[in-house]
């Protein structure tokens, strides 16, 4: 190369513009991002041809795991804070401010009322490993009813979405539906995966 006496041309490009683009996109993603919170149990939804979308807000989600445990999800942190305040009063759980704060950070939960305080007092790591046995939904002690009723009074526009694992038994689903119907909630949105519509023939 030296013999030909050509100047070694630098292959470096001006990266400034690219950098600008990268960080612009990055800002966009950070601002629009909503972190995926790992679910406490397996919820593998069945697929359907429906193309309606679940709104981001005003959703009370009831999830049924493959083992039949019932979980409740409220996406908005502020709503969860109000919810736990009311529930604490209603069931006199004796939670302190710290517990309530912790509760407002948990998006999906499924513990019986009597376990709630213990559950909130666990350290974050332990709580992740803790096996949540689901919200109690017996006919004599229907805690799901309490949760949903309070959530509904705090936010009257909330829609009830049900996310069931494909292998969960219909019996649990039936109980959940019956619970909602007792409160005159008759419209449900069942969360499903996407499946292509077969051509009509």
């Amino acid at each position: 190369m030296a013999q030909v006496k050509t100047k070694k041309s630098g292959v470096m490009l001006d990266m400034t513009a690219m950098c600008d683009v990268a960080f612009l996109l990055l800002t966009f993603f950070i601002l629009t991002a909503k972190m995926k919170v790992p679910d406490p149990a397996k919820f593998e939804v069945p697929s359907s041809v429906s193309e309606k979308k679940l709104p981001d807000e005003n959703v009370v989600r009831i999830s049924i795991s493959n083992e039949g445990a019932v979980f409740l999800t409220i996406a908005e942190q502020s709503k969860r804070k109000e919810l736990i305040k009311e529930i604490d009063k209603m069931y006199s759980l004796g939670l302190n401010e710290n517990d309530k704060e912790k509760f407002s950070l948990i998006e999906t939960f499924g513990v019986p009322m009597k376990q709630l305080k213990f559950f909130l007092n666990l350290s974050d790591d332990k709580r992740k490993l803790f096996k949540q046995e689901g919200i109690v939904i017996d006919s004599t002690n229907n805690e799901l009813k309490g949760w949903v009723r309070v959530a509904k009074t705090l936010n009257a526009n909330a829609i009830i979405a049900i996310k069931g694992d494909r292998d969960s038994e219909y019996a649990v689903f039936k109980k959940v539906i019956a619970t909602m119907q007792e409160m005159h909630l008759n419209r449900f949105s069942l969360i499903t995966g996407l499946e292509n519509k077969p051509s009509a023939n």
Binding site: K8, G10, M12, L13, D14, M15, T16, M18, C19, A22, F23, L25, L26, F29, I30, T32, A33, K34, K36, V45, P46, S47, S48, V49, S50, E51, K52, K53, L54, P55, D56, A161, K163, G164, D165, R166, D167, S168, E169, Y170, A171, F173, K174, I177, Q181, E182, H184, N186, R187, F188, S189, L190, I191, T192, G193, L194, E195, K197, P198, A200
Partner: protein, 181 residues
Amino acid sequence: MSEIAQKEGGGGKGASKGRKKASTRVDMTPMVDLGFLLITFFMLTTTLSKQQIMLLPMPNKEKDKPKTESEIKESNAMTVILGENDQIYWYISKNRVPDFHTTSYDPADENGIRKVLLEKTKNPDMNVIIKAMDKASYQNVIDVIDEIHIVNAQHYALIDITKDDEELVKKQSAVNDAASN
């Protein structure tokens, strides 16, 4: 940029002399790398698409009860029963035994539930009544409602199963077992 390349090629001599006007240009490559790395991370952790939903309106429990078999014309009510282990049965007539059919979820099956529903719901007054046994999986329930949406049936309802129906299923599965053996 090419200036930097040259300068670096000189092994920093120029800088030590301090005579050359120092370039203010910075190599942005690592910064771009970092930027795209973070973008990738955020894209992967973001729930990109919203979840799909299927609407399920249920009848009010006390008032305006759903039309059950007794209230609608018998020939206009098709009952689909979902059993355990992905079993599915259907009947129309009330004196059901000869009319009680076993079918499947397979859309390709000639006697599958989709073909049956398609055939039966040509009658616009046909009501499809879904009765799931407790052991049926949630997947089955969604599948059937989905099939109903696919064939565009207008009237359907999800109703609790009765003892009668469970008996019929038991009988039918015994018959099926005997046939398969």
